[in-house]
């Protein structure tokens, strides 16, 4: 994002495109990577190439994580200099909360469900 803001400012100050080249290159790399990281998981699942759901799941989640990082760095232009580091700090904080919220909820509720006493007339909670 700060790259965008820097470019916005430099353009406004007629300083030319000093940041332009690096940004365009990163953007092209990001484009190629994001297309690859989208096509490969879809191909893995739709073709059933691996015949193993666990490995496929691990691979598609790994590729999603990488693609999210690629998008944040190449498209949102997040780096250590963005707004004096505050963007990165906010992003890292958000990442921690996101991981805790999603991971924690699923972990706790999974164990809650599997450890629940079976009740007559139902095959599990919320099912």
């Amino acid at each position: 994002m700060s790259r965008a803001s820097i470019e916005g400012d430099t353009a406004l100050h007629s300083h030319g495109d000093t940041h332009d080249h690096g940004s365009r290159k990163g953007y092209r790399i990001g484009t190629i990577l994001s297309i690859l990281l989208t096509i490969v998981p879809f191909w893995l699942v739709m073709s059933g190439a691996l015949h193993d759901a666990t490995t496929t799941a691990a691979l598609i989640f790994a590729m999603a994580m990488i693609q999210i990082v690629v998008h944040v760095v190449c498209f949102l232009h997040l780096d250590t200099r963005s707004e004096g580091g505050w963007s990165l700090l906010a992003f890292l904080f958000t990442t921690v909360i996101v991981v805790l919220t999603i991971g924690g909820s699923i972990w706790v509720m999974y164990h809650l469900n599997t450890n629940m006493m079976p009740m007559p007339g139902m095959d599990g909670p919320a099912r």
């Binding site: 965008a4 803001s5 400012d9 879809f42 699942v45 759901a53 944040v72 004096g84 099912r127």
Partner: protein
């Protein structure tokens, strides 16, 4: 947000420890962009809670349809292609905007809008199809969570479309003035952010749903 202090905004700190010294320079455009970034981060937390909810109840089928029966991955692949392509075309608009070229900026923005509209159309079709099949949001906990999560993302994309149309009109009226550039940078961040959320949706909801 005012623009009068923008002339001071060029001296962005290059390293972390300079942040405090340079702090007083963060006015104008930089402050808006940081503020908008923090909005995006809080929006990410909304989506995190929706993903968490979906993850918790994603096997709560209540005897109803399971993901493998109702998800059409070809349709999802098409939708993913639309949204990813729209992110890329928005990236094409930005250098033109920075250079102040009105025509190409509007062209790529319009292409982005059309791709986004195609995404929303396909999503509406998918939702209508599911509801017609009896797999509506009231069928099971899994489907309630699915419609809430994917629907919230779709609502964001729809808001983004309204924003794009607004920008197309305003660029026509004001040209690429300073406030317009700032708004377009915010819109580009919003649009790329929605594509990032979609990565989570197509991986966690659709692809993982079909193979689990």
């Amino acid at each position: 947000m005012t623009d009068h202090a923008l002339d001071h905004g060029n001296a962005l700190p290059t390293t972390w420890h300079l942040a405090e010294e340079e702090d007083h320079d963060h006015s104008g455009s930089g402050a808006t962009l940081l503020g908008f970034w923090i909005y995006l981060m809080s929006d990410a937390l909304i989506f995190a809670s929706l993903f968490a909810m979906y993850g918790v109840v994603s096997t709560g089928y209540a005897g109803g349809p399971v993901p493998r029966e109702i998800f059409d991955l070809k349709l999802v692949a098409l939708n993913t292609a639309f949204l990813l392509a729209s992110s890329i075309t928005f990236g094409q608009a930005m250098p033109h905007m920075e250079a102040g070229r009105v025509g190409p900026t509007r062209f790529w923005l319009a292409v982005t809008g059309l791709l986004g509209a195609a995404f929303v159309t396909v999503e509406f079709y998918e939702f209508a199809h599911l509801i017609a099949e009896g797999a509506g949001p009231q069928r099971s906990a899994f489907l309630s969570a699915f419609f809430t999560l994917v629907g919230t993302h779709g609502a964001h994309v729809t808001v983004g479309l309204i924003w794009i149309v607004t920008m197309l009109v305003q660029i026509g009226q004001h040209g690429l003035s300073l406030p317009m550039k700032r708004r377009l940078i915010c819109l580009s961040m919003f649009w790329h952010f929605l594509d990032i959320i979609w990565i989570g949706v197509f991986t966690f909801v659709y692809l993982y749903g079909v193979i689990r």
